[in-house]
Symmetry: C2
Subunit: 213 residues, 2 copies
């Protein structure tokens, strides 16, 4: 379902602005200009104003934005004015890292259950979570009202896991397996490929070298 | 140094196209159209042609692209016609997951050393790598001719680690710590925040709900 009119890059930056605003708020800063936000996150002031303009009128000319208000508003736009329970499939190294990743909790995400189909992993503890067999997924989803799942299994298993998640009512999937999932249009899927950003670095290093020739 | 004229989104997609081409090549497919690439990765055919046009003329009208040639060329553009040795700092859960992440090796990246300043971690093995003390970094960088470092330490330690990497000659950093690093312009830095993509999902779920009202 491609109903989204706000560019995804804008949503991504909104997420980054809100982190910066959180930091300002923690440090007791009460007002901020678009220029200061821009400098803090490394984009142009015009970009900040354009991104925020998608969502209405903010700030007072010459005074800037009220930090607490803008923070609250950005979080609300991102859907982070509520807690999001998540389930994760794949109790390998990556799954372990994701279960203990502080960055999720900081933003209101909480992994409520971890699943695996490996009998050697089922029953083991990751932090305070016991690795559960896949068959437990329906009951966990219902109990915690889970809408989003994370896939951290090997590529060959990812499609089956995704289909099982969808069959059990999940609406959105964050996929760490380096394959393209084939799912109904209405399911929101985003892939995290950890090497894509490395390739931006190698591209840029190569580009610089070419310029110096 | 902002010398890059090719949009970063194009580089990101190029990285995704090349994965798709690898898959085609493995499956014995020899030619492919921009429409097939587009469908395979979920963008428009016009986008594929526009992205490739940054780098010259490819393909034959009515015949499409030669898979092997286009794959070789995309890898070369991305700087992946060579192996890239990497170092990683932070031997926690995330560091462990990254060291064993297959997606890196598949693309020619190889983590050659892991560092930590925690005496409890130094000397432990992650796969075939022994966790080394930070002081060993200069000699490893020189020995393996490392140019890129990965930061997987807690936020409070990330800036110091980044500065130490730069002092020892690294030119590019992939940062997993959820903070903005403050480094000289000439250093290429990209941040991976694992929750940003989750927030795109929550934004979209909220957006859909609002549309149904």
């Amino acid at each position: 379902m491609k109903t989204l009119r706000v560019p995804e890059a804008t949503v991504t930056r909104l997420s980054i602005y809100s982190r910066f605003l959180e930091r300002l708020d923690r440090n007791g800063v009460t007002t901020v200009s678009s220029g200061e936000i821009a400098e803090g996150v490394g984009v142009s002031p015009a970009q900040v104003r354009k991104d925020l303009a998608y969502f209405g009128e903010f700030g007072t000319r010459g005074v800037g934005y009220n930090v607490k208000d803008l923070l609250r508003y950005t979080l609300k736009i991102l859907g982070l004015d509520q807690k999001w329970p998540l389930i994760l499939v794949g109790a390998g190294n990556l799954g372990f890292a994701l279960c203990t990743y502080k960055g999720f909790n900081d933003r209101g995400f909480s992994i409520v259950a971890v699943f695996d189909n490996d009998l050697m992993k089922i029953g083991k503890m990751i932090g305070h979570l016991e690795v559960l067999p896949m068959e437990k997924m329906p009951e966990v989803i219902e109990k915690h009202n889970v809408r989003i799942g994370i896939i951290a299994v090997p590529p060959r298993a990812a499609q089956d896991v995704a289909e099982y998640m969808v069959k059990n009512g999940l609406e959105a999937i964050l996929n760490f397996a380096p394959i393209t999932l084939n799912l109904p249009e209405k399911i929101e899927v985003r892939n995290v490929d950890l090497s894509v950003k490395l390739e931006i670095l190698t591209f840029n290093l190569g580009f610089k070298a070419a310029q110096n020739l």
